[in-house]
Symmetry: C2
Subunit: 473 residues, 2 copies
């Protein structure tokens, strides 16, 4: 089992893709010395990529996929790790895949956390009565049934916490009022806040929701208790209430609240779903396209990660319809239990550790399926040069960034030296909806999702089919 | 008592200011034949307006006002009609005014509705279980304690309702899924939906929240039952759930929900608050600046209408500090009970009906205190020419629009022939927060509110002080 600390690290870094420095593929190309034959070979895919894109975007196939996507999202809604609903949604996608004529559909069992939130409430008692919205963080412990009534201390940062006397924290509820900078930089208050506060004697911890914008919205997400620290209840509140309590503290007002949280936690069985279009020359070598099928227990998980899951699922479905068999195997994976801490992906890595050299390239879409821009790529110089050359086929969808940590589920595989990429898209509002009731089909745009699917299918096909393997560092 | 229908009419038209055609004051000026002396007189106010604006914006007075505003908003939060909290907030503003040295502070008693929402829940049972956010509309009747369980029919418009057979509506819960066009055009589904649905036998009505944008937010507001129709429970739901149920209906799925709503309703006493700087030449003639102090029972009422209330309150406070006495009386009114249907303003009109000729001009800020743009003006050609000339003192805050219905509370006075204006400001996101938990200090920008206050104080001072009365049509 991977340690909690690895998860924390991954959660901390893997979303900084969203703030990655943009390096255009043309700049990369300038310093590349690719073999002319390879450049010509890549250019020769133009007909194929145009065909794929055209069939998906203009010939109705994308519309059909979008319908299947919205039917799926509305049928199941939120699909939380460990729930019966998630398992039914996995069955549904397996049956849908088979109904499209694909035969290489397998699942791999995974033990996953099953956290079910019960009643949750937060009432400010002093300086005045006010009910506040809150949402428990993943796998938070419960409060006693009567709740925890305690004073609140508003803390700006871990540095601020470190500099605050233990006597001022002890017995209090710590509110981490860390303002959004980037997801990667700010999410540490959600993932680590409870244990950091508990170490100084806090009885519960609240966190300002990790979002740059709010209409009184609460955003949940995973958090990880340290092993040797008291587990204290922890939840997210709105930016509005965090600001309110900070202003009250600045005025010298005593803030007292009653926090009530109940929940259950156990382990369940779930499955990663694997859909292959077997390679015609090197079936053992695989290019993976992926998204996660689970979601948080709020909203519909339409954006995170219904969109990424469906476009990844669609790549082999499309290739099968047109009998387009790439040289290598194109494998779509619908990861399970990403939200509680990349659980499905960790299980896949453990199971396939000896076959990592067969993974030619690993791709994931888990940061939105808005207007596609290109790829965020991790890999050797030559790999990046080849991808940049391939992206020229998709101008203007040809941006290439190098965030250092593309993807969420695929991060652990990439950390083992496998080159990979995540979908770059115009996702400036992604965190407005992320892990909240606002993650519904309303944030999706049909044409944008279809364009993502077209690009994702075509680019993964080319990577799976070109004669040259993507070289590792 | 003004009839319900007048309120409906006013609610329907008064917010279309927000979509008013912009007519620049320069265009208006082109067709004006103002006396040169008057033009020169108006131009001579430049020193005074610059002094006022500078003292407020640059000399810290605006900062102080903003602090008093935020202290007030945080201290009381939502201030709903009929509540003790509203009355305490009125007392607080009276005392604050007196503490600033003003003496002409009076109140006028008003009978106001007191609607208190209790438990509210909406659960979809078919085609799957899902809890849906909802918020009862003002003065909705309750459901039986066990709730109303019924099928939902999604209706696009009143035309759609008219064209639907009564048999298809009878016994159902009607969901009005009218997409936001303008507030004035769309709010009729909130104000009249319940009675329109009840006439065709519906047992309850839901309305898509009246907003162009949502992060799963619900927006309440007033609604008015027709006299001879069964009163059915009525509430607003999110855009997201309205879209979900419409898609389900389009798929032919049977939608069944359980709606539970409880509430109490009675009448209470409240007060309009009137703060005068008596005119040095014509104390009987008044120029009114106003905003309403009550709010809905969600959020903080910081935007609607804490901002408009505070900048209107600040005008006489500022003039008093500098002993700036205009020719006419400058009267600030903090209206009570605007939200349930302009109740305080209607009482003021009834009480002062014989003195309408003394109201030289009536102003209200109730559409946000974002970056100021100018004024939306109702009045005769000459009045509009004079206001346009005055606005030249405030370039670039010199836009003048003619929506036909500025203000909310002041609409009834304007309808009696009194010229008036509301504050134009960059309020494109106003309805994102309106009547929702999102109406908090977070939507306000300190500098913008201060700039509104500076403009509002200076422009109302000039109107109250110029030698010429604003002529009526």
């Amino acid at each position: 089992m991977h340690s909690i600390f690895l998860f924390i690290l991954i959660f901390t870094i893997c979303f900084d893709v969203l703030n990655a420095k943009v390096i255009s593929n043309h700049n990369v190309s300038d310093t590349c010395n690719l073999d002319n034959k390879l450049i010509e070979e890549i250019a020769s895919y133009k007909n194929v990529t145009e065909f794929i894109m055209n069939e998906i975007i203009s010939k109705g196939l994308g519309q059909e996929m979008y319908k299947e996507y919205t039917d799926f999202i509305d049928k199941f809604g939120a699909r939380v790790s460990g729930s019966e609903n998630l398992e039914k949604s996995i069955d549904y996608m397996i049956n849908l895949t088979i109904s499209h004529g694909l035969t290489d559909v397998t699942t791999e069992e995974v033990d996953v956390p099953h956290y079910v939130r019960g009643h949750e409430s937060l009432q400010m008692i002093s300086p005045r009565k006010k009910n506040m919205a809150l949402i428990g963080l993943g796998a938070s412990v419960a409060t006693p049934p009567e709740g925890i009534t305690a004073d609140v201390i508003v803390i700006k940062s871990f540095q601020d916490l470190d500099q605050t006397q233990e006597a001022k924290i002890k017995g209090k509820i710590v509110l981490f009022d860390a303002h959004y900078v980037t997801y990667g930089k700010t999410v540490i208050y959600r993932t680590q806040g409870a244990s950091r506060a508990a170490k100084k004697g806090a009885v519960a911890s609240l966190v300002r929701s990790v979002t740059p914008f709010s209409i009184y919205s609460t955003h949940t997400g995973a958090q990880f208790y340290d092993d040797n620290v008291t587990k204290i209840p922890t939840a997210a509140i709105t930016l509005e209430d965090a600001d309110l309590m900070r202003r009250m503290q600045e005025r010298g007002e005593k803030i007292t609240v009653t926090l009530k949280m109940s929940s259950t936690f156990d382990m369940k069985k779930s499955r990663n779903t694997i859909i292959d279009i077997k390679g015609k020359e090197n079936p053992n070598k695989v290019v993976i396209v992926s998204g996660h099928i689970d979601s948080w227990d709020v909203g519909q998980g339409a954006m995170d990660d219904g969109g990424g899951m469906i476009i990844s699922w669609f790549a082999p479905v499309f290739l099968n319809i047109y009998n387009l068999k790439p040289r290598r195997t194109l494998r779509a994976i619908l990861w399970t239990a990403e939200e509680p801490g990349l659980i499905g992906a960790a299980a896949y890595l453990r199971r396939h550790l000896s076959q990592l050299s067969d993974i030619n390239f690993v791709m994931e879409s888990d940061e939105g399926t808005f207007k596609p821009r290109g790829l965020d790529v991790a890999g050797s110089k030559t790999t990046r040069c080849i991808i940049a050359e391939i992206l020229k086929l998709f101008t203007p969808v040809d941006e290439m960034t190098n965030s250092g940590g593309p993807g969420s589920d695929i991060t652990m595989i990439i950390n083992k030296g496998v080159p990979g990429a995540s979908l770059l898209n115009k996702n400036e509002r992604y965190f407005w909806y992320h892990h909240s009731e606002g993650d519904t089909l309303n944030v999706q745009n049909k044409n944008e999702v279809i364009n993502c699917a077209a690009f994702w299918t075509a680019v993964s096909y080319v990577i799976a089919d070109i004669s040259k393997d993507l070289p590792r560092s």
